[in-house]
């Protein structure tokens, strides 16, 4: 699992590459836990190369969501593969998180 951070003005884009499981979730957790992340207005998560997510990966996003909301930082997922979106859907997380098809829609969200 590789997480690449691309800062741009008031937006931080995180590119996820690989499989997010109970072993690799710590990499993402470390990135989302950085205090500086709350200085951005938006955190966009590019899921184009995210090929797998387990409950441990979902748990990382869930555990930071309230902290982001309290700081008025919007968390937006985009470019999500169908099989990964399906995992969000099964738990009903698609209704609680902002997931859009494209980068353009993520920037506009």
């Amino acid at each position: 699992m590789k997480v690449t951070a691309q800062p741009s003005a008031d937006t931080l884009t995180l590119l996820l590459d690989g499989e997010l499981d109970a072993s690799s979730a710590i990499v993402l957790d470390t990135e989302l836990a950085k205090p500086d992340i709350l200085n951005y207005r938006k955190v966009l998560v590019d899921c184009a190369k995210l090929s797998y997510i387990s409950s441990a990966g979902l748990g990382v996003f869930i555990s930071h969501l309230q902290r982001f909301q309290d700081a008025n930082v919007k968390l937006v997922f985009f470019n999500m593969q169908e099989k990964v979106f399906n995992v969000f859907e099964i738990l009903g997380l698609d209704a609680l998180m902002t997931i859009v098809p494209s980068a353009a829609e993520a920037e506009a969200a």
């Binding site: 499989e19 499981d21 109970a22 072993s23 797998y52 387990s54 409950s55 441990a56 979902l58 748990g59 990382v60 869930i62 555990s63 930071h64 969501l65 309230q66 902290r67 169908e82 099989k83 399906n86 995992v87 099964i90 738990l91 009903g92 997380l93 609680l96």
Partner: protein
């Protein structure tokens, strides 16, 4: 086709487990989403066995067996540890509460129960065994 796998109780072996299940299912020409759902269910149970039942003790091991009976996939996951691990059903986690609490865990078994047709945990001697099954067309 390889249908059994033994791994040490380390979460670093989860990728190996997923690759093993994907390889096993590959010949069935199943939809990608279906394969991912089965891989996910097995990954969740194996992660629980490694972390909760065996405390990530790499001297312990797990055995996985996959078998098809006509269109039904049957999975057995068994450990070698002495701690009996029988998780609850966890059908409907309150996700809004989880978000508010900043909670990381508690969704794995809910996923497994939604993804598989049958989920059973039981003991065999001093060991814990999980049987999963799912009808796959």
């Amino acid at each position: 086709m390889k249908s059994t796998l033994r791994i040490a109780c380390s979460r670093s072996h989860l990728q190996q487990v997923r690759d093993f299940v994907r390889d096993y299912l590959n010949s069935r020409n199943l939809p990608e989403i279906t394969v991912n759902q089965v891989v996910l269910a097995i990954d969740e149970v194996v992660a629980n066995f490694i972390i909760h039942a065996n405390g990530e003790d790499e001297t312990q091991f797990l055995d996985l067996k996959l078998a098809f009976s006509q269109h039904e996939l049957n999975v057995e996951i068994a450990d070698n540890g002495e701690t009996i691990y029988l998780p609850g059903t966890h059908q409907s986690p309150d996700l809004r509460a989880y978000i508010k609490e900043g909670r990381k865990g508690g969704m794995g078994m809910a996923l497994v129960n939604r993804l598989m047709d049958r989920v059973e945990f039981f003991t065999r001697g001093n060991h814990t065994v999980c049987h999963l099954s799912k009808h796959l067309a």
